[in-house]
């Protein structure tokens, strides 16, 4: 990577987080846990057996905010990216969304209206199903396809562009729920619990959106380049 970027292999992990706290979740998705002392990016990656080029490419991509298409990432480890994306899926499906669900139930139950709980849960569970379907498709279809590709086997029909076309916007429904709560939820007292859920929804919405951007602007172009190389060979 010839381009100039904010974070380098010599950046200290603690500085990286001070600079951009939203990178915390990325760091844990790479499998690096807190307590890094004065370790640099390079040292922390080596200690955890993670390709530091890939780590830097992802955190720089995420923290620079602007989506900039100006380089081809040819020295990154696709296996590392896949494990990063899979960990993110696990985080959303097994931790974050269930936790929002619990908070949402508590908040609407506190309204004392039994009917609220029923309709909110139906909405949330439909949304949850959609996200799960989307992420399962990646785990079960897209990633295995890519791993085959890395072995030099080009599928006779499937291409990563198919995934890109099916990459429906799962975050629009979350925005709708946010909208319902902000605009139409009957006001009652201080609503601490409800505000809490809203904060969670907002940060989850952002998190999923940037997760999708890593897939769209980082992962997919690299895979396309591999497809291209393989199809020229054959």
């Amino acid at each position: 990577m010839s381009q100039h970027h904010k974070f380098t292999a010599r950046t200290r992990m603690s500085d990286l987080i001070n600079e951009d706290a939203s990178l915390l979740s990325s760091i844990s998705r790479f499998g690096i846990s807190l307590g890094f002392g004065d370790k640099t990016v390079k040292e922390a990656c080596e200690a955890n057996n993670i390709d530091s080029n890939t780590f830097l490419a992802v955190v720089n991509f995420l923290s620079e905010g602007n989506v900039e298409i100006n380089e081809t990432y040819n020295n990154i480890s696709i296996e590392t990216v896949i494990s990063y994306l899979k960990n993110a899926h696990t985080y959303f499906l097994d931790y974050k969304l269930p936790s929002i669900r619990t908070k949402l139930i508590d908040a609407v139950e506190s309204s004392g209206q039994l009917s609220y709980k029923v309709v909110f849960m139906k909405f949330f569970d439909e949304y949850f199903d959609e996200v799960r379907k989307h992420m399962d498709y990646e785990d079960k279809t897209v990633f295995p396809y890519v791993i085959q590709l890395l072995d030099g086997k080009l599928h006779h029909k499937y291409r990563i562009a198919i995934f890109e076309e099916h990459h429906s916007d799962v975050d629009s429904k979350l925005a709708e729920l946010k909208n319902i709560l902000v605009k139409y939820y009957p006001a009652q007292g201080t609503n601490y619990m409800l505000n809490d859920v809203l904060f969670d929804l907002l940060s989850c919405e952002k998190d999923i959106a940037s997760h999708n951007q890593v897939e769209d602007f980082f992962f997919v172009p690299v895979i396309e380049a591999i497809e291209h190389k393989l199809s020229e060979k054959s």
């Binding site: 298409i69 100006n70 909208n179 605009k183 139409y184």
Partner: protein
Amino acid sequence: MSDSSLKIAIAEPSVIIRSGLSVALKRVQGIHIQTFEIASYDLLANYIRLHKPDVLILNPSFWGMANLPKIKEDSGHNTLKCFALLSGMVDESILKFYDEKISLYDTVEQLKEKLDKLFETSTEGNKDETNTLSLREKEILTCVVKGQTNKEIAQTLFLSTHTVITHRRNIARKLEIHSTAGLTIYAIVNKLIELDEIKKDM
């Protein structure tokens, strides 16, 4: 329309101009703009094919030979709108393939006017419209939430299916809620319907 959004790609070699324009576009009122910065011409066609932005802003003095009709055709994206980003004098004949021009000295308001003109994203006119539902719309909303089809709603309320569809579109626009599950929440919290009337779908 508060939910209009545009994907805008900025193809310009200068990082300062590129990022500056990107920041200026995010300040445009009433449109949610997502920008993508493209720093080299080689990556442009591929990006457009994959991500199908609504607008491409291109600096013709750097990539003057950019063959816009070919870019559109190759990427299968014929509805792409192209803006020329002008930093100096440019031969008019080059500009004929562009839908609009942007000067380095355009204000945010001028950027907004140019986008509004091409995308009819202007909020003028429907600003006065209230977001409260009419009585008829409330009736239709109740039927939708009960799980009735457009045809059934039309029969119950003695309307044409076409009218029902128009009402439904207006309801979704006014409330900014598009899913049935979302409308159900709206109907319940606003006491338009009781839970036992819809219980069978729950």
